[in-house]
Amino acid sequence: MPDALAPPANDALPLQTRSELRFLTCGSVDDGKSTLIGRLISDTSGLHDDQIDALRDDSRRFGTTEDEFDFALLLDGLEAEREQGITIDVAYRFFATPRRAFVVADTPGHQQYTRNMATGASNAELAILLVDARKGLVEQTRRHAAIVSLLGIRHIVLAVNKIDLVDYAEARFREIEAAFAAFATPLGFHSVVAIPLSARRGDNVAAASPRTPWYAGPPLLAHLETVETGLDAAEAPLRFPVQWVNRPNGDFRGFAGTVSSGRVAVGDPVVVAGSGRTSRVARIVSLGGDLPAVSAGRSVTLTLTDEVDLVRGDVIVDPRRRPTVSRRFAADLVWMDDAPVTAGKRFLLKIGTATVPATVARVADTLNVESLRRDPADRLDLNAIGRVEIEVAQPVAFDSYAENRHTGAFILIDRSTLRTAAAGMVSEGFDAARDVHRHAETVTPAARAGLKAQEPVVVWLTGLPGSGKSTIANIVESRLIALGRHTMLLDGDNLRQGLNADLGFDAAARSENVRRVGEVAKLMADAGLIVIVALVSPFQADRTRAAALLPEGRFLEIHVDAPADLCRQRDPKGLYAQADAGKLMNLTGRDQRYEPPQDPALVLRTGELSPEQAADRVVSLVLEKV
């Protein structure tokens, strides 16, 4: 064997027990975040001679302090920022002591950069909140504390910086400490340690300062080295999102992924959250040889004792403590896109390893991070935080974010720009679907459809009252039956006499009406039928939501389009006449707005086409699909 391939000697290694802590620093502009990180790096000997030379050079050219070293310049990485003298992004920094390696996310203090702070916080176990001892708590401090709490950080250091500039006054420090304690009580932190320090002078950073004899606690570095943060994930129930199916040959089928939480051992019974299929863990495969058990954080490959057909996005879980599997849940969003979000907007949602189409079904409120009060709202703007209801096209497995930081977290991706539009956290105790676990179905929708020798499809006719939907729908169904197809007609008015008899006609009731019809149509399609829906369904968001229930291309949104005065003139059910007489409220097209489809599969202009001609067009389209 050539020397270069010979492995180096492998006896006792240095740093054998070194652990890791990831934390973020946040604070207002000029509170000294970058200086503090620079100081920590420098005091742990992380700074090299050539970096010190570069820093001295930089400090002369760009420095904002009178010191020889402006530690902040170590961190401002990008040319544009350097010219402006501000940090505009999240920067990651590294330093280590023999006990621990640290990854620091440095995040900006500007209010408009909430998204960067949420980003840094999402992977941190602890947050250092900087406060200028002269200024005390400011709006930014409260805002940042609220955001880190929302993102599940449970350990806080309140760094009361620039203590030298208040003459190391204990009274000032205690005042700030007490003010923060009062504010932070509802935020649910497990530990808050307040430390008086001076990043610029090094007091209580790496070593206890003789100038604060009244402070008995640890200096910052000693606290960071010893704080315990990571116990929750290992104790939580098993969650293993399947990331990639490893099939190198016919004999091996492994499920590669990272254990999100809990522990898994060979022989453990497991269940697939979505399908309800059960099995046992056969092997935990690794290059160095099989492992007996692994816990949260480990990236491994599992094999199961049964032939279970799993795909990326499935979640292998503890059968006794299962996640919720649902298409609807409530969540808090940190809105990160320039374009605001309102109800009905569609996205891609990535949770665990699953990516599914999703709709923000409702915006409920925004969180005022100053007062921690929730105010009703119907939209979220850039950097807003608020509660929404999410509806996804296929059921997904999740826990609440409070219970599990990995399986309760998701991102929303804008479908056109592909930007990451929001960070999402599933709320606790808001979903009716909790503890309803899907039973594995033996007969699949494909099998039902196969027996009927057709591909199910939903034909959704939307349009103003009197535009001709019901007439066309009836002709379409008759023709399809004549062609030997299996069909079902769902007519809005008929359904309102039974399933939807409890609903009125205001906007909320109309949404619910459409939601129910969409669900019924989906069930009928799963039964293998061609479903024809004739329903005013005035709002795009509701129709989009119905479309999302079905696989891509199986929902045909058809606009039955007639001029409003023609509909009124036809008035087949006398609705317009009644409304004019004041006997009927909320008539679409008269009192309520109608939103035409943005991207219809077909537009039928019934002012120009006969009902038979219109039906012909629908039937041709359906036949292409089935």
């Binding site: 064997m1 270069a4 391939l5 492995p7 180096p8 000697a9 492998n10 290694l13 240095p14 740093l15 054998q16 027990t17 890791e20 090299h48 001679d49 050539d50 570069a54 930089d58 990485g77 990008l78 992004d89 920067a91 990651y92 920094r93 590294f94 280590a96 390696a101 998204r115 960067n116 949420a118 980003t119 999402s122 992977n123 990331q243 490893n246 190198p248 040959n249 016919g250 004999d251 091996f252 492994g254 590669a256 990272t258 495969v285 690794s286 290059l287 160095g288 040889g289 492992l291 954080g297 480990r298 990236s299 490959t301 990160m336 930081r405 977290a409 991102i411 592909l418 930007r419 990451t420």
Partner: protein
Amino acid sequence: MSPPAAAQAPKITPSGDAVRRSSLSPHLQRLEDEAIHILREVVAEYRKPVMLYSVGKDSSVMLHLALKAFYPAPPPFPFLHIASGWDFQAVLRHRDRIAAAYGLDLLVHSNEAAARAGVNPFDTETGEYSRLMLTEALKDALDLHGFDAAFGGGRRDEEKARAKERIFSLRASGHVWDPRNQRPELWRLFNTRLSPGDTMRVFPLSNWTELDVWTYIQAESIPIVPLYLAAERMVVERDGALIAVDDERMRFQEGENTVKRRVRFRTLGCWPLTGAIASAATDVRGVIAELLDARSSERQGRLVDAASQASMERKKREGYF
């Protein structure tokens, strides 16, 4: 079908594994798990990924992680080496030996037109040389094969511009990086989506430091190019750097002489542009000991970087890794 030969590491015995597995500190274990997660995410989500393989220590770690991530399957992507024509001979030997030992699908690409036009590290301005022989060659190779995602071994501790780059770093058409238009990266939920013409650069070692790389190499017994270890080498002292004379193309300046020195390299670039450091570290353990005691940062030996404070950021905007 038997398990692919490529997945079998050449010198690993079962007893060695037991030692090796227990030898990762919690910190290195976390870095390894994170990197494997990233590697798998790319393979699951992209049509045609590639791993940039510079043969250096970071590439060697990435390769090792890839062998682990997809075991018992071989890494399901090719490995691309951008050869400048001024690569250390030992690097090329190591590359070919490793590719053969693991059965890698190895692609080698060079900017031959520029080489023919006479571009070389002595006459061409260093920034321009680097742009033509490395950046342009890389972009050209990525376009030629139509790769939609490329792994690079970049680490955030290397340089300030890297510290702010994402793990999944979007490149618009022409491979340009826009530091002001980066996607927020939350939890382990990487937004991997691409618009037509976009590609992704992916850095599984983002959160590793130079020391982490070396302690991992030691713990996992990863083969490395011998140039990383100290040996007697013929060098020329130039502008405070020690330049090893790797072949007969060396151009000496007035008054320069080769001297024999005990040196090693911290990074391996084009040999006329890569400074060696005096060292007595003849094994990885020795390198780690010297690193714990180091007084200069890793990229100091790279003449390419010294040109400008912000040279890395500029190079990255142009499409460099």
